[in-house]
Structure formats: C-alpha cells, structure tokens
Amino acid sequence: MSSAPSSPSRFAPFTAIMRREFAGYFRTPLAYVFLAVFNAFAVSLAFFVGGLFESGVASLDRFFLYHPWLWAFLAPAAGARLWAEERRQGTIELLLTWPVTVWQAALGKFLAAWLFLACALLMTLPVAFTVGYLGNDGSRWNIITGPDWGVIAGGYAGSLLCAGSCLGIAAIASALTRNQVIAFVTGFLACFILVLVGYGVFDELLAGVLGSGGVDEIRRLGLWRNLEPFTLGLVDARPIAYFLSVAFAGLGLSTIIIERR
C-alpha cells in the first residue's frame, strides 16, 4: 500500500471534505426536493404575491424581496446536516481523527453548503431572462440592453451573501445537537428573527420597548435592510460586511463548539 506522504498538501483535506459534502447533498432525494421547493416558492412569491408581472417594470426587486424569508427557511434546512449528521452517525469521531483540523473540516463543509445554495439560486436565472424578455420593446438586442443586468447581478450577489449569513447561523445550530430536526428548528427561529427585524409590525413592537433611536440601530441588523441596497444597484461596503460578518461569525462559533465538544 502507498504510505502516507511526508507533507501532504494543506488543501487536500479541505478539498476532499468540500467535494464529499457537496456530492452528499445529491445522494439523497433531499437535494432535489430542496431545489424544487426553493424555485417554486421564489418564482410564486415574486409573481403571485409580489406582483412582479403587474408592476410593468423590468426589475427584479420584487423577486429578491422574499429571498430573506426563503433563506431563513431553506438555509437551515440545508445546513442542519453539517455537524448533526456527523454526530448521529458517529462519523465525527472518524473525521476528526483523520489528519484534518476542525477549521479545515468546518470551512469545507460550510463552503460546500453555500455552493449548494448558490446552485438553487442560479436555477432561478430564467426569472431574470423572463423579465428581460417581457421588458423587450421589440428591438433585436433588447434582451441584452433592456434590463439593467448590473442591478440584477447585484441582487443575485446580495441574495447569495444573505444565504451565507443564514447558513452561518444554521452551522451553529447544527454544531449544538445530533438531531437534525432540532438543528433546523433552532436555525430557522434565529434566522426568522433577523428577517422580522426591519418589518413594520416588529419594529413598532421594539419601539415600545427601546424607543425609536434603539429601533433604528437594531433595524440595521435586519436581513432585508441589508439586502435591499443590492436590489437597487447600490454597492455599499456595509451590507457586504454585515452578511460576511454573520456568515463567518457563525462558521467560527460552530468550529469552536465542535473543538470544545
């Protein structure tokens, strides 16, 4: 047999774990159910609730409006297995006695899950092309020149970052338990609170407790408040920093939880 190399690549464990985790989503029907549900809800909400068609505007802001809700539900669904499944199967003992650091394992798992969510998001691209088609004024190249593709790309980037934040929270929930259902419910509730922050009724409730100044500060922590600038074509460092901070704080905390198990 081939003996262990004296200095294997630092990336070998990370890439092996990322590949296994990403492929793992497609080994069960869960991935296909997930992709179907995400697409069905993303499109239905935009057209039937958001009135994307009736608005008569070649813009996707009504499509992205519902993405924080979708990610709050579906990112914990995809992230619940990250550590909970390893614990349930007992494979965590195997994985962490192989020559891999907890950080490498956690990052590989996290990026694989994020990539999976990116696939779900990319499958909604026909919505963007539909908007382009509907906004066509008859000229031959309107599909390319008509809608503002920069704004649409910004919306997709923002949605993906939002998904990463929800996944960070889901990773913490998954590291805390061996039960995927508990991991999902806990992750969903935490994300749900971040979705509610910034919505009228919830803000009024908070204003009663904190006063209007306090609500303004807290509102900055809402998912939609941070996603909205992307859908309007505004590139601002603050929402990018917010989404990445939540994502990597979640990744870091989940790693610490696993290290101290």
Binding site: M1, S2, P8, S9, E93, L94, T97, W98, P99, V100
Partner: protein, 234 residues
C-alpha cells in the same frame, strides 16, 4: 522511541473519573491487547490517544508527535477505527475509501483504494453503499479506512466485535500480517484473542491500569482466563 506513548492520562466526565493516571508505551512490533470490563475506560483512553477527546491532564503521543500540540502530524501516522466502525452510510465502499485516501493526500489514491479493497477482501462489495452491508463487512470497512495509508500506529476499538468466527479469523489474519511493522492496540472482550494475536496485555478497570505484562506472563496467571480477568478487574 516508542510509537505510542501515554503519560499520566486522566479524564473525568462530571464527577465520574473515567481514566485515572494511565501510562504506558508501545514499541514497533508490539500488539497490545487492551482488556477491561464495559465502562472501564478503554475507549476513553483510545479516544485520547487518537486525538478525538482531550485529556484533562497528561500527554499522548503518536510516532513522536504530541497528539494535542501536533495533532495533524500525529494523525498522519495513525490508523484508528472507533467502536462500532462508524462510516458514511450513504457512500459506497469504494467512494468512502477514496474519500479517506484523498483526505489523507495519498500520492496515488486510486492504487491505495484498490490495494486496500484486496487486502480486506472487500472487492465484491466495493460498489455497495455501506448502509446495505452486513455487520461483518461494515467492520471490515472500518478496518480498511484505518490501514489505507499503511500507518505505523493502529488503534482499533473492538475490531472483531459481533463478527462470526470466519470473519474474526480474517481480521486476525490481516493484523498478524502487518503487526511486525507497526505498533498496534486492540481493545477486546474476547480473551482468546490475547493468545492468538497479542504480544502484551494491558488490563484496565475503573479507569486504572491493573496489569501491564507480556502475553506469556498473563497466560501463566492461570488456566481459566475468565477467572484471571474477573480477579484483576474486581
């Protein structure tokens, strides 16, 4: 330099002291039979050696690398099969071993998988998902991932548990083949394995080492090994 070294290892879970001041070392060519009743601290000691749990005090080293401080280097020299041989059930045997080979960064992972499948006689189930395998095959898959990189140190927690006599014979045969080049620890309840496989015996009870001696000395304690075991672990 011993390939495995445990120095004053201790571990408590709440008020329960699972392992108390355990020390021993294992050289190349030795096969240690790690004996003890359920809950004696065998698995906890092995988990500390493998780097899965941290010792409250004391140190463990594998091939000269301290497990807590140089964890990745230590684990490169270690093959470990936890109790019950957990594995990713949704993967096929071949995929699982390929994953282990890739993760370890082996130079020719495809060849390592092929050779390990042959060594552990797993070729006929290589394309089957692990969830569909019988217990005997699952235990062999657990053993296969532990030896795929031909490590210097093998730590196997009850590798023959639940196997039928033929399967036990197979695992012992493979272990005997590779034992001279390695330091091996196997935990077991099966006292007959001591005579067949081990060169040395460590008996542990209530978290403490009760006996650490050569196989011959252990076997000379009496004709009835069960009685010897009961007396040592009382």
């Amino acid at each position: 330099m011993p390939l495995i070294e445990a120095k004053n290892l201790s571990k408590s879970y709440g008020v329960i002291r699972a392992v108390s001041d355990v020390s021993f070392s294992v050289d190349r060519g030795e096969v240690i039979g790690f004996l003890g009743p359920n809950g004696a601290g065998k698995s906890t000691t092995m988990k500390m050696l493998a780097g899965h749990i941290r010792a409250d005090s004391g140190t463990a080293s594998i091939a000269g690398f301290e497990v807590a401080a140089e964890s990745v280097a230590a684990k490169q020299h270690l093959g470990y099969s936890p109790e019950g041989a957990p594995a990713y059930g949704e993967m096929t045997v071949r995929e699982f071993l390929r994953f282990a080979a890739d993760l370890r960064g082996l130079a020719d992972p495809a060849a390592s998988v092929r050779e390990t499948l042959a060594l552990c006689r797993l070729e006929e189930v290589a394309a089957q998902t692990i969830d569909t395998l019988s217990k005997g095959y699952r235990m062999r898959v657990g053993f296969a991932q532990a030896v795929i990189h031909d490590p210097e140190v093998l730590i196997l927690d009850e590798p023959t548990d639940g196997l039928d006599p033929n399967q036990k014979f197979e695992v012992r045969r493979i272990l005997k083949e590779m034992a001279a080049r390695k330091a091996v620890i196997i935990s077991t309840h099966i006292l007959e394995e001591v005579g067949e496989l081990c060169t040395r015996v460590i008996v542990i009870a209530k978290g403490e080492v009760r006996c650490d001696e050569s196989r011959d000395k252990f076997l000379a304690r009496g004709p009835d090994l069960n009685a010897v075991f009961r007396k040592l672990t009382a």
